[in-house]
Assembly symmetry: C2
Homo-oligomer: 199 residues x 2
């Protein structure tokens, strides 16, 4: 089905153009017109692929999430098998922080998307769903680690899950140079060492 | 000096208009024209108070930071004197999270400001300075608590400071309803209890 593949490829190319605009010039420049220019298509062609700005943002965000999942999957494959849950959590956190160019683009896209979602019910629903799925995945991992004695049984899996996810708060601190990458990684390692200690 | 007071009041009124625009309609609507309309002044009058969008954003962000500091100061005055450093850290964190309307407006303003700052060197310098001051204040508090035996001496004050600040990562989770306010507060309490335990 070459036609469908082309369609999907064109959508991906437009999503990448949107990321480049957001990454280089900021969210306020990410209009349909600017994204069409960056992608080298006409505004009419862009609207053929995305009926609305919301549709374009949602697609771009979903593809950023897929790229992050791919990076995590590649990272997992490189670990000892089966991977230790501590290493899995570290990998997930590190790939969500702006520590290298790919992750930085996803992280900025995601921060902009959250802000936009506050004023757009459709985006908000979509963003909430994606994040709740991610949270559920981390909580399953924490619960399994408690069940298998890798995390102490007196730890509350819900609270521990939220504390791990809240560490994505390093993103703005890293972006503005308030915390340097080695310090953020040391803090994450310290937090995870304590979570998996004393089991 | 009534004229200077008027000038300052007008600047504050414009900053409040900007917050309302950002809070209600999102960052993409926060143009000079829209802020002038919301503040009930002409575009020319607005430009008399703020020579550039950067100047307006910086002033609005500084006044949001002052309002947050005022809320923290009022909260501190309501605590037992002298306040325990655990309660101080909790208060600072809680006032930085979108848990009530005032804090939510500051939190959204700050998230939008960070994104804007990534593409504007002057804003970036300004935002970095403010955040580094805040970080230094928290680190002094942590170091004093270690010196006074309220935090165990084997804790690294730099790492503990970064972990506390990273918990502002609850902001997007709260905004999108992925974590509910009582769960975020329980997680923060758990983190602080452990920080001050075993000293």
């Amino acid at each position: 089905m070459p036609k469908q593949v082309d369609h999907q490829e064109r959508r991906e190319a437009i999503a990448h153009a949107l990321w480049r605009v957001v990454d280089q010039h900021g969210w306020s420049r990410a209009t349909l017109r600017e994204v069409a220019r960056e992608a080298g298509v006409s505004l009419g062609q862009l609207q053929h692929y995305f009926a609305s700005r919301t549709a374009m943002l949602t697609f771009a965000m979903e593809s950023a999430a897929e790229r992050t999942a791919d990076r995590v999957a590649r990272g997992l494959a490189a670990l000892d098998q089966p991977p230790h849950p501590r290493d899995v959590l570290r990998l997930v956190l590190v790939e969500m922080l702006p520590l290298h160019p790919d992750a930085r683009a996803s992280s900025r896209m995601s921060a902009a998307y959250v802000l936009e979602a506050l004023h757009d019910p459709a985006l908000r629903r979509q963003a909430g769903l994606g994040l709740r799925d991610g949270r559920a995945m981390v909580e399953r991992l924490v619960r399994d680690a408690v069940a298998q004695g890798q995390i102490a049984p007196d730890r509350d899996p819900g609270i521990e899950t939220d504390l791990v996810l809240a560490l994505t708060g390093f993103s703005p601190l890293l972006e503005l140079g308030v915390v340097e990458p080695p310090a953020a990684l040391a803090a994450i390692d310290q937090h995870l060492d304590r979570l998996f200690a004393g089991a």
